[in-house]
Subunit: 479 residues, 2 copies
């Protein structure tokens, strides 16, 4: 597709610049006067609301209930879970003054809420009959980041965090995996984004977790984006915060905990998976405007009426449609605008079309134009949007599959990542030292998730330390 | 209705204790380890989500779009609007450390976001064609309060805040009044709560506003609760933060601003307007569970099947129904539970009912029991819930109207407030000094809102200072 819009940099010229250009020109966000904080404008927030609606439905099916818990964590409380506090302390925003007085116990603005939920859980369970508990919360969290980028890494971002408590390890692990699967289906069915899913390595897992299950997406520039995580937390938080219950055998037991979340990072994923040199390309089910109707020569008899009729028909079908009859702008100007904003389907109706009883359809994803009969058009749109969704998902899936390369040395990995990017699948020992060596030698590639675990009788060796290989992992340079 | 549940204090014995008892026993909230912060549990959060759904629909009809803006305000930025900062500074939570470093410009956790929106508006308008802008945001805000009470006054609470920008004063005032009306209809159509509506006096208006339009509800104990406000902000923020646009006459102009909000205070209003000595009484359209089905002798043939059938029929009608077939608890225990939780309608089906083809309906609001035919029952439920809503609203409206008393002196006001509470309507000069004198002499009564403005030729005098009366206001002791 030709680049029609000079307002943004080409992806191949400067991908980072292209990304921020799209964020700004598609009116997704604006920068705030404090570094790392952004304004989520209506167009990005509406996408987030579609994600919320989908996930709220799925969480509910999974038995989770929404709650809202405080945004502050006393420093003294945070200190109780050692691994967790070490992981988060360096990036905390800390309030020290309240109502003009210095606070005896400073308050950390939540970077995540495992501790806050643990405090609540402690009070809410006494017997195994009180389990399981499945809570979710939609909120923002604050992490004081040095390098920030809209949606991808910010000092404050929006997310949901699920926090659950179970009687047994089995149930808890099952929950963590089930929620990873919910996120995976959100990618497949809503965002048109395929994920690599797997467990994080010891070195990469969440601070305080026993196991972290991750979802990794491939961006257009060949880098990976961690798009969601689901943690089996074991009993660490429960022990640190004194959560116990009377078990079936009348003895005090410690429950097993999970937490899982996705954030407005998903907006970054949508931009970088689907976007092109003309701007955003939105998957239909998450698009705030799914169909835009642009009248051509709208002063000509019957044109505007035909547009309005179609507009009402589509609205009645629950399609998010916009009729742009603003006569301050030319159709061409509007085309570029809605392409920039990634509207999946454009319908043009002009006097000549009208005379022939037809309309011009243009798909954003590939620019394909089709003349279709106006008669019965509204009935066809839901199916068309579905086809667009499927084709966007397939395209992204093929791209992902074409960017998984088996490698067996650091040099090979580095070469593949330099040449084509994507994920390198490699067997190695699974130790943090070797991951650090890989990172240092490949300009930052990290183990994104485990592809498989090897049997003890494998003859494969770790290409770094030479010890027997234990796991096969996907490595990539990542956001 | 007899008090059947000893778990809570009677309203007439100790209203404040009754209130917190209901909050806890109906499982609406729990206390957090930092004073003034609470956990919003699933049952209260679900009510809030119903309020959100209603208001989101109404805001959208009114042209407002949802956004999300940062939760921090640099202290230096806050200082620019003098009245505003003086109003809020004493109750700010201030972050002074980020990422382990002392912040050069400390960050205030937003107590409200006029400033944050003003910063955005400044960048988004250049011409009158960019106006109006109508934004809304759902978030939590932090105000460091000395005396706190669940839902009514907390250090952190959930709310929505609308922020709009207009070309003219007329449009802005119209918007502020329209949003007050939306809140009023939310009370009438969703919460079954009637409000007194009017403008705040000079002394009581929002810090930084030209005019504050308020909604005041009457609680069961005779005290008023400010339940929502809508502000015409004039040009104060726009001037302080440099928001300008090129007007129709090609000259730089300053826009007119509004802001409007309701908070989880509305949950407190629902509890204190409708609740009784058996606990919560929820208006049907906001109840997370609208109908509970309790089987009697559920082991008897056909009982559970009949309950399940009705359950499915009600679900299919979009009714929020719960079938409680837990056989660890007796029906009597369940009755008390769902009464405590304020479920509007209970349906019992037992073997004897079933034999006669009928079911027992009990309305939460008045305890009335009716035997009804099972045949066609599901069809009748939506109408029944509507009738309950109307009767709850009427009851609250009569109570409000019976508690508005015209008075003409401080002594009379004090006596009326001591004897029956509610609102005292009184003419006075409208000056802050006299409001302070009234407050001091009446154990805290304040002007809640203006009932009417008097003509200059009135012969009425202010009963405090003796000057000509200028306004008639509703006074009340308030939360």
């Amino acid at each position: 597709m030709d680049k029609k819009n000079d307002a943004i940099t080409s992806r191949d010229v400067d991908f980072a610049k292209w990304y921020t250009d799209v964020c700004r020109k598609a009116d997704l966000m604006d920068y705030y006067s404090v570094k790392g904080f952004i304004d989520y404008l209506p167009y990005s927030y509406a996408i987030w609301e579609e994600i919320q609606a989908y996930l709220n439905r799925r969480f509910k099916e999974n038995g989770a209930e929404n709650v809202y818990l405080p945004m502050v964590i006393p420093q003294s409380l945070m200190a109780k879970e050692k691994e967790h506090v070490e992981g988060f302390a360096p990036e905390c925003l800390v309030a020290t003054i309240g109502g003009g007085q210095t606070l005896a116990d400073p308050l950390i603005i939540r970077p995540t809420s495992e501790i806050v939920f643990s405090e609540l859980f402690k009070k809410r369970i006494s017997s195994y009959r009180d389990l399981p508990i499945r809570y979710n919360q939609w909120c923002s969290v604050v992490r004081w980041e040095k390098t920030t980028r809209p949606f991808l890494r910010g000092s404050e971002f929006l997310w949901q965090e699920g926090h659950c408590l179970f009687e047994t390890e089995e149930e808890a692990r099952e929950n963590a995996l089930a929620m990873q699967q919910v996120y995976n289906e959100c990618g497949r069915d809503l965002l048109a984004i395929p994920f690599l899913t797997g467990e994080k390595t010891e070195h990469e897992k969440f601070a305080g977790a026993v196991a972290t299950y991750s979802l990794e997406a491939l961006m257009h520039d060949g880098k990976a984006l961690q798009s969601g995580t689901s943690h089996y937390l074991g009993q660490g938080f429960a022990k640190a915060y004194g959560i116990q219950f009377l078990g079936r055998n009348n003895a005090l037991e410690t429950p097993h905990q999970t937490s899982w979340g996705v954030s407005t990072r998903l907006l970054g994923a949508i931009i970088m998976v689907h976007g092109d040199d003309n701007g955003l390309v939105l998957p239909p089910y998450v698009a705030p405007i799914q169909v835009v109707i642009v009248p051509i020569r709208q002063d000509a008899e019957g044109v505007l009426d035909a547009c309005k009729k179609l507009n009402e028909e589509l609205k009645a079908k629950g399609i998010r449609v916009k009729l742009d009859a603003d006569d301050n702008h030319t159709p061409g100007w509007k085309f570029a605008q809605y392409e920039m904003k990634g509207v999946p389907l454009r319908i043009e109706i002009g006097p000549r079309d009208l005379a022939k009883g037809q309309a011009m359809l243009t798909e954003r994803v590939n620019g394909e134009k089709t003349l279709v009969p106006l008669e019965g058009l509204a009935e066809k749109i839901p199916g068309l949007l579905h086809d667009i969704h499927i084709s966007m998902y397939q395209k992204a899936k093929e791209n992902l599959e074409n960017h998984i390369t088996d490698v067996s040395s650091i040099e090979e990995m580095n070469r593949v990542l330099n040449e084509k990017g994507g994920f390198c699948r490699m067997a190695y020992c699974g130790e943090a030292e070797c991951e650090l060596a890989i990172k240092a030698a490949t300009n930052g590639a990290t183990a994104r998730c485990i592809a498989s675990r090897l049997n003890e009788d494998t003859t494969l060796r770790c290409p770094i330390c030479g010890k027997p290989a234990k796991i096969v992992a996907y490595f990539a340079r990542a956001y």
